[in-house]
């Protein structure tokens, strides 16, 4: 048994939840093969932009220093 945590995304179109990792399975046939910063919703196919890493780091930094 393996433990894992995944970031949950909510699709901007159908509003269903999916794990960001699961989006990669929907991207399997793309030329970029999941190497882009878009997460395709496995339910409806809508392309959701993933937040840039620098924004995630900035948000973490703000969170840490705001406390």
């Amino acid at each position: 048994m393996s433990q894992a945590t995944a970031r949950i995304m909510i699709c901007g179109f159908c509003a269903r939840e999916f794990e960001e990792d699961r989006a990669q399975t929907a991207c399997g046939s793309c030329l970029l093969n999941g190497g882009c910063r878009w997460a395709r919703c496995p339910h409806c196919g809508y392309e959701n932009p993933e937040s840039p890493r620098w924004m995630d780091r900035l948000a973490t930094w703000v969170d840490r220093h705001a406390r």
């Binding site: 048994m1 393996s2 433990q3 894992a4 995944a6 901007g12 179109f13 159908c14 509003a15 269903r16 939840e17 990792d21 699961r22 399975t25 929907a26 046939s29 793309c30 030329l31 882009c36 910063r37 878009w38 395709r40 496995p42 339910h43 409806c44 196919g45 809508y46 392309e47 932009p49 993933e50 937040s51 840039p52 924004m55």
Partner: protein, 662 residues
């Protein structure tokens, strides 16, 4: 399908495990119905997360005590149907078909019960003990919803228990129902009409082997030609399943619609009937303003005026006038005009070789043209556009738009689902062309690809056109009218010419929500970053090609070759360059048009004609490559050959009409 733990269980029996191991209770349901909250209620703290064998989808297992009995509770990923194609749905299906649980507990949202009951029917078809836990009853009561539990339970033949998982209300009743359900015989399968029930029964009657799922569920899969079900039948039946499969084919060949669609329709019909009989509402659902507004946006009588207001305020005023007017003006005139471009000109003044200097600065320089187009013209426009787009996206408007246009799209051989690539096309047509693969039929994929290439401007092009015509509302209306008319007329003709069945569209409407600032900002920045990283290298490359073209004389040659065509549209010779730009990238071409207008080379008719032609003109190189990849060489080249005369023909006619009425 028949392997794993399946041999321990036979369909139609009780849910008690054959050996002395713990009772296994699986929680099943669509996403966001409170499965995890119920799982925590039933299990307490001892939870393990594991990957189901052969997949990377997580299921959680925990130990619980139900009526003094130790049980194992399994939380499965959310799913809408047992026949879906996502990895989660396949995993849950395999788990259930392999007899992974002794009792199934479907968790359903009390506010949307009719949408949940279709899955209930599929679970009942499996022939395993099933309990329906109707969650969020408190919210349903607030919405004025009343549930006749006894009646629903009798109609379904399973226990129905209203609960509020987050508060723990109804949990003890549910525990008792689970234990009782495990000891009782499995429910009888539902009966469907319109040939579906006959086909299921006919196929089911011929199944002689032992299977881990009920014959109704297996028959439903067989008449849909499900590969796993066919393989199981071939392994199990004495004649290799020949007789059963022949019956399945015979009974479904007269269906007037795809089998999967017919079954889904029958299940939904049965679910609606169940809900009508047991759910009542004392005041109309949607008494709150959000729900009412949500419905109004999807209804043509109110949705179309609302769409026009959204487009006027968002695209015309915000993207066109603010992004394309005020912001571009400042960046171009002040930042680049007074500071950046003069700085680069001075920097390269020392280079004595004119050809080398002109690569970097001057009329077609990498820095003075490529960077200026990307940063001063395109970036503020797409920034404004993406902000507007993210705001609409985060509010839940797009699914309503899909419903609003569904009827019109059907006439074009498309369904409301095609709104996804069409809306994405307004951001980037190349990405949208790739997304057309999510459409259900080949016909729909071809039509959507063609319409994207022909009549859907990308974000930058749309923004630049809004900026070009921000001071000319009449010209903008003409452009919009011609592009929409082309979309509709060519789409309708395409739907007639291309053979195939009409698409079917069904989607669950998510609630309209107040956009969150953090979401909108993150999505806008993410899109801008993606766009800028993609566009800047290409703009620089375009500048190099144009520089090379000038240096070798090829560019002048091509411009001269396009001259007669451009003149026939009533445009000055300089616009030939814009069309050459446009083939490289639509937005680069649009930026060129923007430049010409600001230099006063074009009058209002010429701007309108050029904008229409450029919008309809062949897509950029990247999109064309994607068309080749997605639709194949023959189809993509055929589209290219069709689009060019349509674009120039529309421009030619428009010029004649506008000159005659002027």
């Amino acid at each position: 399908m028949a392997d794993g733990r399946a041999s321990c269980h036979s369909a139609g029996g009780t849910g008690l495990p054959a050996d002395s191991s713990r009772l296994r209770v699986a929680l099943v349901g669509t996403p966001n119905v409170g499965k995890s909250a119920l799982f925590n209620r039933l299990t307490g703290r001892y939870v393990t997360v594991s990957n189901y064998p052969g997949t990377s989808v997580e299921i959680s297992r925990g130990a619980g005590t139900l009526g003094g009995e130790q049980v194992e509770v399994i939380d499965t990923p959310g799913m809408y149907s047992l026949t879906g194609s996502s990895e989660e749905q396949r995993m849950v299906r395999r788990f259930l078909f392999n007899g992974g649980a002794d009792v199934l507990v479907q968790v359903a949202d009390a506010k949307n019960l009719s949408r949940m009951l279709s899955l209930t029917l599929q679970l009942v078809e499996l022939g395993r003990p099933t309990v329906l836990a109707v969650n969020m009853m408190d919210e349903a009561v607030r919405h004025g919803i009343e549930l006749d539990v006894t009646r629903l339970s009798t109609q379904l033949g399973i226990a129905v228990v209203p609960i509020v998982a987050v508060e723990g209300s109804g949990i003890e009743d549910l525990k008792r129902a689970i234990i009782r359900g495990a000891r009782e015989r499995a429910p009888l399968p539902p009966v469907y009409g319109n040939g579906v029930g006959t086909a299921m029964r006919g196929v089911g009657a011929q199944l002689a082997g032992q299977y881990p799922i009920g014959t109704t569920a297996l028959a439903a899969l067989l008449i849909q030609a499900d590969e796993e079900a066919i393989a199981a039948v071939r392994r199990t039946e004495a004649d290799g399943g020949e007789q059963v499969l022949m019956t399945a084919r015979r009974l479904t060949e007269t269906f007037d619609a795809p089998v999967a669609y017919k079954i889904a329709l029958e299940r939904q019909q049965a679910a609606d009937d169940l809900a009508r009989g047991s759910v009542s509402q004392s005041r109309p659902f949607g008494a709150d303003w959000g729900t009412r507004l949500g419905h109004a946006l999807a209804r043509p009588s109110t949705g179309i005026p609302a769409l026009l207001v959204v487009l006027y305020l968002g695209l015309y005023k915000f993207v066109g006038q603010l992004g394309g007017g005020t912001m571009v003006d400042w960046l171009e005139r002040v930042l680049f005009g007074r500071h950046i471009n003069p700085f680069f000109e001075r920097l390269f003044l020392g280079i004595p070789w004119e050809p080398v200097r002109s690569l970097f600065v001057g009329e077609y320089g990498l820095l003075t043209l490529g960077v200026r187009y990307a940063v001063a013209v395109i970036l503020p426009i797409v920034g404004a556009f993406f902000l507007f787009f993210s705001l609409l996206e985060d509010s839940g408007y797009f699914p309503r738009l899909a419903l609003l246009v569904d009827r019109t799209f059907k006439r074009l051989g498309l369904s409301g689902r095609a709104v996804i690539p069409i809306v994405l096309g307004l951001a980037c047509d190349t990405m949208a062309t790739m997304v057309t693969r999510t459409l259900e039929t080949k016909r729909e994929r071809v039509l959507a690809t063609f319409l994207l290439a022909l009549a859907i401007p990308c974000s930058a092009q749309l923004g630049v056109i809004m900026a070009l015509m921000a001071q000319q509302p009449l010209a903008l209306s003409v452009w919009l009218g011609v592009v929409i008319a082309t979309f509709v007329v060519i789409g309708a003709l395409g739907a007639r010419v291309l053979p195939g069945e009409g698409p079917v569209f069904h989607m669950e409407l998510p609630p309209l929500r107040r956009p969150r600032l953090s979401n909108v900002v993150t999505k806008t920045v993410a899109r801008m970053q993606w766009y800028f990283l993609e566009v800047l290298p290409l703009f620089l490359l375009a500048s190099v090609f144009i520089w090379l073209g000038h240096l070798t004389g090829v560019f002048e040659l091509l411009s001269r070759a396009l001259g007669p065509l451009v003149r026939s549209l009533g445009l000055p010779p300089e616009t030939a360059t814009v069309f050459l730009f446009g083939f490289f990238r639509r937005d680069y071409g649009a930026a060129g048009l923007f430049d010409l207008q600001r230099q006063g080379v074009l009058d209002v008719v010429q701007v309108t004609v050029a904008a229409v032609t450029l919008t309809l003109f062949i897509p950029c190189v990247a999109q064309f490559l994607m068309m080749l990849k997605e639709r194949g060489v023959r189809t993509a080249v055929a589209m290219f050959v069709l689009i060019t005369p349509i674009a120039f023909g529309a421009g030619f006619l428009l010029n004649l009409v506008l000159r005659s009425v002027r």
